[in-house]
């Protein structure tokens, strides 16, 4: 069965978001027990679980289709190329980009940011220039810019946040100026759950002629993303946080910008012709895809997008919002618990600390109850510093979670409090 056949099987049986029990059946890992307890998976911001259709697509690809893309004239290569390119089209539709050539496959959001920093950044940012990020960025949206700033003698400026974990937009307005050459900002914060006002951020940056990169690693699985409505110049995300395989993701870039940018890496597939004197680069998007890509990963991601979009995003959003409200209410009943990240516009994340109990002890005790959460700094050490905590415990939601999962979490926390009483 080809990938298009796989997507057909999803379309024939479109599950409704209300029917969570049936949706959970699609995720084989959720049926498992951990330490003798049913698995309660609440670490979706780290990575999401994979529906059977994605797993089957990977097996099918390697079983019946494996070959290299954009090279062979033989049957298998043609099939693989077709499915690989059709995955690109699915991403283009998911993000509502205008052309497939604006979608570049990468290993994930991190590589996407590095691609832009390396290519656009090195071309456009010089001594004394400024790059604006925010205080809630993941390390992957801090470090590539620090490296660039160090190399070029440029300066990193940081939009501060308030105690609820919301951007201080007035400070952002003050940071913008003639020195600003790029704004790079997270859409949905992985450690706070804050949804940032991207349209407004882009509009303000564009009034200075400054392009904006949006880190959508957490947003894509939880929010409708329309890059043309957002107006952003670059948008990056990871497949594994969208129920797809690890090691695959994409960068959206406006064609006009991508066209003017130098390649990210040199190698096969990114060239039109090579002599020892001169190399002509390939057209978009291939100019940015040197070497054999993660073909299986891309096709697997395509299957994940088919599965995800069949669930209907507005229903997912409404359901997850309800779950978040319920989780917030339940956790708030624990007196010694403090939620970190209480923005008005928020999705999917319940980050918290409990007085006198380190997050790792919470994590270990919950794990013994079969509950998987993340504990630590979530690759956002500056956020931990901002809130004066060494680490937080974080439960992060996906559409396959239920109120029963939240109840299990609260019961697990009762056990934590009991041990520490």
């Amino acid at each position: 069965m080809t990938n298009s056949a796989a997507s057909k099987s999803v379309a024939e049986r479109p599950p409704l978001i209300q029917d969570i029990a049936r949706i959970r059946e699609d995720f084989p890992i959720l049926k498992q027990t951990v330490h003798g307890k049913p698995l309660v998976y609440l670490d979706n911001a780290a990575t999401t679980q994979k529906p059977q259709v994605v797993i089957d697509t990977l097996v099918r690809y390697y079983t019946t289709e494996n070959s290299n893309v954009h090279r062979g004239v033989h049957y298998l290569s043609e099939q693989a190329t077709q499915d690989y390119e059709s995955a690109r089209t699915k991403i283009r539709r998911l993000l509502n980009a205008s052309d497939d050539c604006e979608i570049i496959f990468t290993r994930g959001a991190t590589e996407g940011i590095n691609l832009v920093a390396h290519s656009y950044g090195r071309q456009h940012i010089g001594e004394g220039d400024e790059i604006i990020i925010s205080a809630m960025e993941h390390h992957s949206n801090i470090v590539p810019w620090q490296i660039l700033c160090q190399e070029k003698g440029a300066r990193l400026r940081v939009i501060p946040i308030n105690d609820d974990g919301e951007l201080l937009m007035d400070d952002y307005a003050k940071l913008l100026g003639h020195r600003t050459k790029l704004v790079s900002i997270v859409h949905l914060s992985n450690s706070l759950g804050t949804i940032n006002p991207i349209e407004q951020i882009v509009e303000m940056a564009h009034s200075y002629g400054v392009p904006v990169l949006v880190d959508g690693a957490q947003a894509v699985p939880h929010l409708p993303v329309d890059v043309r409505r957002l107006g952003c110049d670059f948008y990056v995300f990871s497949g594994h946080k969208l129920f797809g395989p690890t090691g695959i993701g994409a960068v959206y870039g406006r064609a006009e910008l991508l066209d003017s940018m130098p390649p990210y890496q040199g190698g096969g597939d990114m060239i039109k012709s090579v002599t020892f004197e001169k190399t002509l680069y390939n057209s978009l998007p291939y100019k940015f895809e040197a070497g054999t890509p993660n073909i299986a990963g891309a096709i697997g991601l395509g299957a994940a997008i088919d599965y995800f979009t069949a669930l209907e995003l507005d229903k997912i959003c409404a359901y997850e919002h309800e779950l978040l409200k319920y989780g917030t209410k339940r956790l708030s009943t624990i007196g010694s618990l403090r939620l970190i990240g209480t923005a008005r516009e928020k999705a999917g994340i319940l980050s918290f600390v409990i007085e006198g109990i380190h997050a790792h002890d919470i994590g270990t005790i919950l794990d013994s109850e079969g509950i998987a959460i993340r504990t630590g700094h979530h690759c956002t050490q500056p956020v931990m510093d901002r809130f004066g905590v060494p680490a937080t415990a974080r439960a992060s939601l996906a559409f396959y979670n239920t109120k029963a999962d939240i109840d299990a979490l609260v019961k697990g926390l009762d056990r934590v409090l009991e041990i520490f009483s």
Binding site: H358, A359, D361, S368, H377, P390, A391
Partner: protein
């Protein structure tokens, strides 16, 4: 006793909530800092060395139960010991935590530290238990750089 109950047994929790020698040591002639970026645990170990003997020891910092209780027990264990003996205790302690599941270990030098034997069932938490020891060793060797478990 379940693995979890062994890990969080009363005496361990008691060392966590009332750590021994939890102070900046006046008159310390050696100190070092340790950091576990995985957990965010931070510790400073202070030593007063007289004629090759750890005459007094103190520590400060924040961390999880395992890291703080181990540091507390460590200070009790090494106080009055010769420097080489302290390092040998660390080796025995390390062997206890990294032994194959279910196997025996040499407890001769360990004393109360033996109550942490259950940490070996939680490999990801071993780092928490050895941070203070790496920091102690750095203080003994007078390394000024912050030691890390990573």
């Amino acid at each position: 006793m379940s693995q979890l109950e062994e890990l969080y047994q009363e005496i361990v929790l008691e060392h966590y909530s009332r750590p021994r020698n939890f102070k900046k040591l006046e008159g310390a002639n050696r100190s070092a800092q340790g950091y576990n970026p995985f957990c965010g645990d931070k510790i400073t170990v202070y030593l007063k060395i007289e004629d090759g003997v750890i005459a007094d020891v103190g520590f400060q910092g924040s961390g999880c139960v395992i890291s703080k209780a181990t540091a507390s027990l460590m200070t009790e264990s090494v106080k009055g010991k010769r420097q080489e003996e302290a390092v040998e205790i660390f080796h025995s302690f390390h062997n206890m935590l990294t032994r194959p599941p279910g196997s025996d270990f040499d407890n001769e030098r360990l004393g109360d530290l033996e109550i942490l034997a259950g940490v070996s069932e939680f490999p990801i938490r071993v780092k928490c238990a050895v941070l203070c020891w790496h920091t102690l060793r750095a203080a003994l060797e007078q390394k000024h750089q912050t030691v890390s478990t990573e």
